[in-house]
Structures are given as C-alpha cells and as structure tokens.
C-alpha cells in the first residue's frame, strides 16, 4: 500500500471515526440539550441539501453556465422563503398524522397504496443518480490524492462505515422518529466541516492565487475578461426551469423531506430557517466563483479536482481540505438518503407486499428489515457508480435526479391547495410524467443507449438541451393528466376527509361515531390480533400515556382520540396504508342507524391549537367564537349541552362547581356514564315534554339540593342537533320559602296570642276588680292578704300576656327607633320571657344591669334581640353553667353584654355567624336566622355587635356585646317639640 493511499484511508477513516465519537457523545448525554436543540443546529442539519453536488457539481456547472450555478442555491432558498405557506402546512400534516416520508404523505392524502408505492419507486430511481454523484466525487477525490492508485474501491471502503453509522444511530428503535438529536447534531457537524472546507478553499483562491479582492477585480477586468465573456450565458427559460427543479428538490428529495418534516423540528425553527438556511447556502455558494476563477487563472481547466491537483504538488493539505469537505457532504447525504429511502421502501413496497403478521417480536422484525434496506441503498449507490464507470458527468447525473423528483411537485401542490384532486388523477399524472422522465433522461443515462426521441420539437425549440425538454414535457403531461382525470373521475369519501385534513384552508369536520371497543383497555386485545400481544400492549400504553388516559376510560370522545393516536403511531412504524388497514379492521367504528354528527369539541380543540396561525377575518371570527364560548363558560347558571347521540358536548364552570365534576372529565362522555344523580336527572329533563322541571330534590356531595332544570332543543336549520340544559340551584330559595311559611305560621300564632290575651284580659280585669272590692268589703286581715295576693297574681298574668303580645308585634318594623329604652327593664323583660320556656332550667341566668342606662331605640325590638342572644347562650350551655347580663356606658354609647360559660363558637363558624341559615344546632332545632335578625335590628339602631369567644381572660364561653347609642334627654325633647309644631 502506497503512502498516499494510507494517508487517504487514515484521513477519511479518522474523519468518520470522529463522526462516530460525536454521535456517541450526544447519545450518552455528554452534550447539553440546550446546545442540541439550538435553532442553529437545525439549520446546519438542513444544510444536508448541500451534497457533493454543492462542492463539485456546482463548479462544473459554473464552468458551463457562469452564474447559472446559483439556481441550485436560490431554488432551495426560495422554497424556505415560502416556509409559512408551503413547508409549515406540510409539517403540520406530517406531525399530526405521524407521516415520515413523501410516500406516506401521498398514501395518506390520496388513500391509495398505489400512490405511496409509485412515489417510493420514483424517489428510489431519482435518488440513485444522486447517490452516484456522492460515490463518484468521493472516488474522484481519492483517485486525485493517490495519483490514480485507488478510487472506487476505497469509496466502497468508506461506504461501509457510512451504512454502519445509519444503522447504529438511525435505527436503534423501530419508530422512524427515534433519536432525532443524534442524527441532527451529526449532520450539523458535517455541515460545519463542509462549509469550513468551502470557505477555506475560497479564501485560498482569493489570497493565494490572487492577492485579495482588488487583485481579483483587476484580473476579471483584465486578463480574465475574455474567459468571462466566452462563458455561455444560461438561457432565461433554462434558468427558470432550473430554479423550479431545485425549488422542488429542496423539500421533495427523500433525505430533505426526512430532515425537514420527519425530525423534530419545531414550527418556529422551520420559520427561522426561512432566512438562516439561505444564509448558509450563500456562504456555501460564495467560494464557488472564486475557485472557478482561480482555476481559470491557474490552468484554464475548471473542475475542483484540477484546481486541487494544481496545488497538491506544493500544498498537499489543500487536496486534503477538498477531500474532507467532499467526504462530509457525501457521507451526510448518503446517511440521510439511506434512512429515508429504507423507510419508504419498507412501508410502501415490503410491508404492502407482505403485511405484518402477529409476530412475537414485531419491532425486531421491522428493525432488521430496515437495517437490511439501509445497506442495500448505500451499496446500490456504489453499484450505480460502478455501472456507469464514471462515464456520466456530474451535471447530467444531478439533473436526472432533480427532474425525476420534480414529478412529485404537482401532486404535492394539489395535496395542499386543491381538495378536488383524487387518487386516479395523481397516480395517472405521476405515471405519465415518470414514463417521459425515464424515457428521456434516466434510461439513456443508465443504459447509454439513445432511445427514439419524444416529440419535443412539437412544443419546444429543437436546439434546447435534453434535460430541459424532458423536464417541461414530463411536468406538463403530469399536471394535465392530474387535472383532467381528477375532474372527470369520482373522489371517494375517505379521500375527501383526508383532503380536508391536508388542505391549507381545511374545514375539518370530524364525526362523532361510537367505537366497538367500550374502554381503552379493550383496544389491546383487538389490536393484538394484528400485531401481536407485546406490540399491541406497548402501542396502546404509549398512546394512552401521550393522551393521559386511563385503561378504564369510557368516554367516546377520548376513545376516538385514542384510535386516531394509535393510527398515527402505527403510521410512523409501518406507513399510513398498513396502519389505516389495521385500525379500520381491528378497531372499527360502530355504525348505528343514528346519523353521525360533527365532533364540535374536537374542532374547538384544533381551533385553540392553531389560533396563533389565524389571520384576518378568520381571526376575527375566532375571537367572536371565543367570546361566545366564554360567555357560556362563565354563565352564573349551570349549563350543559347534550348531543343527539347522548354525548355531553358542553359542561360549564357553574355546573362543574355545583356538581363537583370537572368539565374536562365529562365532555365527550355519554351522559348515562356520569356519576349519580346526573344520569337520572338529565334523562328526566331530556325525556320531559313539558320543561322546566322545578325543584328536583337531589343529594350532591352529602348535601340536599333543589335544582330546577330548563331545556331547549337545538333543531334549527343550521343546527348540529342536541339539547341545551340550564340548571338552576333553588336550594336557598326553597329554604326561604319554608322559613317564610314558618314565619307566617308564627305571625298567625302571634295574632292568636293577641286575641287570647284580649280575651284573658277581660276576666283578669274582672278578677282584679273583685279582689279590689274584696279589700273594701272586709277588715279580716287574712282576707285582705288573700285579696293582695290575687291582685299581685293578676298583675303578673297581665304582665305575661302583655309581654307575649309585645313580642308577637316585635318582628314588625317600627318607625320609632329613638324612644328612650332602659336596658335594665328590657333585660328583665327578656329574662322573664326566656324563663317561660321549659328548656334550660338548670342554667343560671343573672341580670346585673344597673338601672338608669337609657339608650335610644325600640324597646320591643331590642327585647327580641336580647331574647335571641339569651336563647343562643342557653343552648350553648350545659347544666350548671351561668349566663350574665351586664351593661355600662361609654362616651356616647352604652354597652350591653351577654356572657356565658358554655362551649363557645368555633372559629370557622364565627366568620359567618351573622349570615342567614348559619347554625350549629341539629336540623329542626334552629333555623340559623336568629342572629342574622339580631344583627339587622342592631344595625338599624346604628349600633354594632362584637363577639368574643372565649372572652378575654376566660378559658371558655362567649361574650356578645351590643353597642347602642345613648339617649340624649335634651335632643329628644327638642325633637319631640319639633314634631309637635
């Protein structure tokens, strides 16, 4: 082995070894995620577009067509400039439906295995010349460095580690999207190397051959002028066609589609690439004319090899730079082509011909198939180059590849922008275009045989190059067939729904169809029939984890999403055609007689997800939709919408709060699967002919409620069906009604008591008069004493009766709130009343109110307040406790306090003590209205109530202190005089 050959092997082997080390470091987590996920890494990975053609082919093309070589870079830059309207919609579809190749996309959109298979075949045939370019340039560079000792055989030696790299770091897992970081970061490193090589070669040309930019300009205007003028100018029509071909290649070539859409590039990164990738390509393109002029100035021979050869004699490292740059470009292109094409061939040729069975190790089987295909793709590139025996020029190879892949462009544009295109039109269009391309360019290139020319002369000038003729004729036939046949043939229902999903202006109307499987757990045995137990268990678990579902999930909405997710995941594993067949067959929808309705919740979720992308009128309409939705969601009344298929479509916040069931867990489920009592309640209102249903008694989270339900049927002209149900909580109103009835009963009793008092009053007055007479009629001391006692007792009866009558009238509002009221007297009065009750007799009641504390107010109502306070205090006390009434005066106010030694008031109750219906007593013993009423009365008296539980310096009990305004004698008199005038 010669020294040169050994050097080349060491150089190339060392570089590829470095790549393995980089990939290994990324895989083991030695590089921070922040670096790996940086947008610049993604941009550099997209630099895989600059294959060996960018280094060698561009120079060759520049020699032929001058600045026409820029079409290669500007075409790709144009495709990324259109990222918002072209690449982002494709990314959305591939991301949503887990499509990893162009063939997947065609098979999904046109619901046709044939479309997928045809795209795979065209891609494979188009990619072969591109692989041939990589191997040929690699062999050429090796041959140059070894002075013709070795070439293609060493290229094969380098192909082996390239295939090994693709297998090791690209197919560790069966899923096509596995390990994106490793692949992207390695490609980024390769892009840096080839960019550095190109810039170095350009810099050397500028500073070593010329003496800088000024010297170059002098050469161009002087000795080089003749060469520049002699360079053929590219025809404008050819330029436009080239731009179109490179534009299409930038996102349709299998390896570029794989990097742009199948790897985890975010939408933001893709949009950023609209300027970062053109910048990268600018830097790659900039050195090309410098090298070309340097070669012209040196030898007059243009190719990079010649330029490098000129310097190798004196500077061997220049050849090494060119070789490493070429190796970086070739290896990155071959790795990604091998990964992308192997996936396409597996999904659209191998698995279509031999569908997967219920293998015990489905993943392993798929992995080994893919690895075998990777080796086959890399080796086929080398064999293709061997077959051609380096006879083809790079330009011919490249243009054959680019014209071939451009046949997919009409179908792709129709996929995005024309929902009317159908599978027959696309397949026939592709076939027509591909046959012309094969006949005009591919077969002559491969066989070397000149086939009878197609009737180009009918349409185009006869002196144009063959590639131009073939490109225009094939594309014209392709487009014409696609349009005409699509217009005159039938489009299936499946195609229509896929077209809606793919269209840029998609109006997605997912249907609410029930599934045969009743729960999420049921999916596994169904799917196991197709892909085996292990794979089914893993795939279902993976999909459930992604959607955060539980195995017992029953909601039809959630089950439909699970089915979609499984189909998307299986599509990533074995292509959309096979995945769709499996899912349709083993996880079918249940086709009842009921008409399928739109899945509004799904549509809303998608609108929410894509909201930031809406513009103009669509954005305004979405704003309006959100406003109406928020209005319903925040409605202070409970609201739910039930579809005709019994699915809950809406469950607002108020209803979530009332029911204790969150909207997220309810929406999409059937109403009869809700927790009790909702199924019965909703069934009752949905079945009711006369709505509303008033005050339905239900128990919700341990409390009794009374709910009123209103219903409206959505059956208008533009309606999607269903019923809207309004749920009102009438529990408090029910309590109020009962209290009102109770109060009315009490008022009746009060009136009765007044009547009874009046009736009792007459005989009592008679008894008192008789006792008085008795005193006058006798001198007997015993009789006189008896008469006195009778009079005292009759006075006591009168007082009791008067108290009862007064208390009965006390609940009514009084206009007199500024009368002088003696606290000692009304304390005694209240004590007297409270003692009439038979309960709490073992509690001691003490009145320590000093006489002479006069407040301003209504005596009857203040008595009622004190009775309430005393009654509460007594209820809080046990046997032996005592209650003390005390009073005192401040500057302008008097305080009046009830202190007990009872059990006190809990802190949480204290906060709501004066609210209506707050009570700690057992049901039936207290209404919770006493203190509320007391608070209201004191407030009307411009006073306040303070609560201390326990009172200061006391271990237990409660002190309720009332502050009331003192009565001012003078002010009162003045007021009385004023009122008399």
């Amino acid at each position: 082995m010669s020294v040169e050959l050994l050097g080349v092997l060491l150089l190339g082997g060392g570089y590829l070894g470095l790549l393995f080390l980089c990939a290994s470091a990324v895989e083991r987590g030695k590089v921070s995620i922040r670096v790996l996920r940086h947008p610049i890494v993604y941009t550099l990975a997209l630099g895989v577009y600059a294959s060996a053609w960018a280094l060698y082919g561009s120079l060759e093309f520049a020699a032929e067509a001058g600045f026409g070589y820029l079409a290669y870079y500007l075409g790709a830059a144009g495709a990324f400039l259109l990222a918002p309207v072209l690449l982002v919609p494709i990314q959305r579809i591939t991301r949503t439906y887990q499509l990893s190749s162009l063939a997947d996309l065609f098979a999904f959109r046109f619901r046709s295995r044939w479309a997928g298979t045809l795209v795979t075949l065209i891609s494979a045939l188009a990619v072969l010349p591109l692989l041939g370019i990589q191997v040929q340039t690699l062999g050429g560079a090796v041959s140059l460095l070894t002075q013709g000792q070795a070439g293609s055989s060493v290229a094969l030696v380098f192909c082996a580690p390239i295939a090994a790299f693709a297998i090791l770091f690209g197919t560790r897992h069966a899923h096509a999207r596995a390990q994106p970081d490793v692949l992207l970061s390695t490609l980024a490193v390769e892009s840096v190397v080839k960019l550095a090589a190109m810039l170095a070669l350009g810099g050397l040309a500028l500073w070593l051959v010329f003496d800088g930019p000024a010297s170059l300009q002098q050469w161009l205007e002087g000795p080089g002028l003749a060469a520049q003028v002699a360079t053929t100018k590219l025809d404008p029509a050819h330029w436009r066609t080239l731009l179109l071909l490179f534009f299409a290649a930038a996102f349709l070539m299998p390896h570029l589609f794989h990097i742009t859409f199948a790897e985890n590039l975010s939408r933001h990164t893709l949009l950023q690439a609209s300027w970062t990738l053109p910048l990268f390509l600018l830097l790659m393109a900039l050195p090309v004319p410098l090298i070309w002029w340097a070669a012209q100035a040196s030898q007059g021979d243009v190719p990079l090899a010649a330029y490098a050869a000129y310097f190798i004699d004196t500077h061997w490292w220049i050849g090494a730079i060119a070789f490493i740059g070429g190796l970086a470009a070739a290896s990155s292109t071959m790795i990604v082509i091998a990964l992308a094409l192997s996936g396409m061939v597996l999904n659209h040729i191998v698995l279509v011909a031999r569908p997967p069975e219920a293998h015990s190790d489905l993943y392993g089987w798929l992995l080994w198939l893919r690895r075998g295909l990777i080796v086959a793709v890399v080796v086929s590139g080398w064999l293709f180059d061997q077959w051609l025996k380096h006879s083809a020029v790079l330009t011919d190879l490249g243009l054959t590849a680019f014209v071939g892949i451009a046949q997919c462009l009409p179908g792709m544009l129709a996929l995005l922008y024309w929902p009317g295109a159908n599978r027959t039109g696309v397949v026939v269009g592709l076939l027509g275009g591909a046959i012309i391309w094969l006949w005009g360019l591919w077969l002559p290139l491969v066989t070397g045989v000149t086939l009878p020319p197609l009737p180009y002369a009918l349409f185009l000038p006869p002196d144009s190059p063959l590639w131009y003729h073939t490109a225009l004729l094939s594309l014209a036939v392709n487009i014409l067939l696609l349009i005409v046949i699509s217009l005159f043939t039938r489009t299936s229902e499946g195609e229509r729904s896929a077209a809606e999903a793919c269209s840029v202006d998609a109006v997605i109307r997912s249907k609410r169809l029930p599934l045969e499987a009743a729960t999420a757990a049921d999916f596994t045995p169904h799917l196991a029939q197709a892909i085996g137990d292990e794979a089914a268990t893993r795939e279902v678990a993976r999909a459930m984890k992604a959607l955060r579902l539980q195995p017992e999930e029953r909601r039809p909405y959630a089950l439909r999403r699970l089915r979609d997710r499984l189909q998307a995941n299986l599509s990533g594993l074995m292509g959309p055609s096979v995945a769709r067949d499996i899912v349709d067959r083993y996880l079918p929808y249940r086709h009842d007689d009921a008409p399928a309705t739109d899945d509004i919740h799904f549509v809303e979720s998608r609108l929410e997800a894509y909201r930031s992308r809406l513009t103009g009128l669509a954005r305004e309409l979405d704003g309006l939709r959100r406003h109406h939705r928020q209005t319903l969601a925040h409605l202070p009344l409970g609201l739910c919408v039930v579809g005709d298929d019994d699915e809950v479509v809406m469950w607002n916040q108020a209803l979530s709060q009332l029911s204790g069931i969150g909207g997220d867990s309810v929406i999409g489920s059937r109403y009869d699967n809700l927790p009790a009592p909702w199924p019965t309640l909703l069934a009752r209102v949905l079945g009711a002919t006369q709505a509303p249903l008033y005050k339905q008694a239900v128990t919700l989270h341990g409390r009794d409620y009374f709910l009123t339900l209103h219903k409206a049927v959505l059956d208008g002209h533009d309606s999607r069906g269903g019923s809207v149900i309004l749920v009102e909580d009438h529990t408090e109103m029910k309590w109020l009604e009962e209290e009102l009835a109770h109060a009315a009963r009490l008022a009746s009793i009060g009136q009765l008591a007044a009547g009874v008092a009046h009736e009792i009053g007459n005989p009592i007055t008679g008894i008192s008069s008789l006792a008085q007479n008795l005193r006058y009629d006798t001198e007997d001391p015993a009789l006189l004493e008896t008469a006195d006692q009778i009079q005292q007792l009759t006075q006591r009866v009168t007082r009791i009766v008067n108290s009862l009558v007064g208390f009965a009238h006390g609940g009514l509002p009084s206009a007199v709130l500024d009368a002088p009221v003696d606290l000692a007297l009304i304390s005694a009065e209240a004590l007297h009343l409270i003692n009439l009750a038979r309960s709490g007799e073992d509690v001691t009641l003490i009145n320590t109110c000093p006489e002479g504390i006069i407040v301003r107010g209504d005596g009857q109502r203040l008595t009622q307040v004190m009775v309430n306070l005393l009654s509460n205090a007594r209820d809080a006390c046990s046997a032996g406790d005592e209650i003390v009434i005390s009073a005192g005066t401040g500057e302008h106010q008097a305080w009046w306090r009830v202190t007990d030694t009872g059990r006190g008031i809990a802190a949480d109750v204290r906060e709501h003590l004066f609210e209506p219906f707050v009570t700690t007593k057992a049901p039936g013993e207290g209404t919770g209205l006493g203190l509320s009423l007391a608070y209201q009365i004191v407030a009307e008296h411009q006073g306040k109530i303070e609560v201390a539980s326990p009172p200061p310096d006391t271990p237990c009990g409660t002190a309720m202190t009332l502050w009331l305004p003192c009565h001012q004698q003078d002010a009162s008199n003045a007021h009385a005089q004023d009122s008399h005038r």
Partner: protein, 58 residues
C-alpha cells in the same frame, strides 16, 4: 388568503423576472460580489419579516 395571494403574486413575479437579474450578474465591469450583496439583502428582508411575524404572534 389575502396574504397568500399577495405573497404568491410577488414570488411568481420574482420567478419570472429573475433572468433579468442573472444577466446583470454576469457583467464583468460590475463588482464580482454584486449577486451576493443582492442575495444578502433578500436574506435581511426575510429576517425582518420573520421578526415582524414573531411580534404579531405574541
């Protein structure tokens, strides 16, 4: 769709008129780096549009 139509119009117009640019690039009397300066200008314009889009989406 208004944005798309305008954008498609500009792109298609640029595509049809691009040969005029190319004929100017080959002029030996002009600075050799002129095509790259124009290209750089287009990149700067795209960068500006991208920044504007990001602000709009906030």
């Amino acid at each position: 769709m208004y944005v798309y139509r305008l954008m498609l119009f500009l792109v298609f117009g640029g595509y049809l008129l691009s040969p005029l640019l190319m004929s100017g690039w080959g002029d030996p009397s002009a600075a050799w780096y002129r095509p790259f300066v124009i290209w750089g200008g287009l990149i700067a314009l795209t960068l500006w549009l991208e920044q504007k889009r990001k602000l709009d989406e906030r």
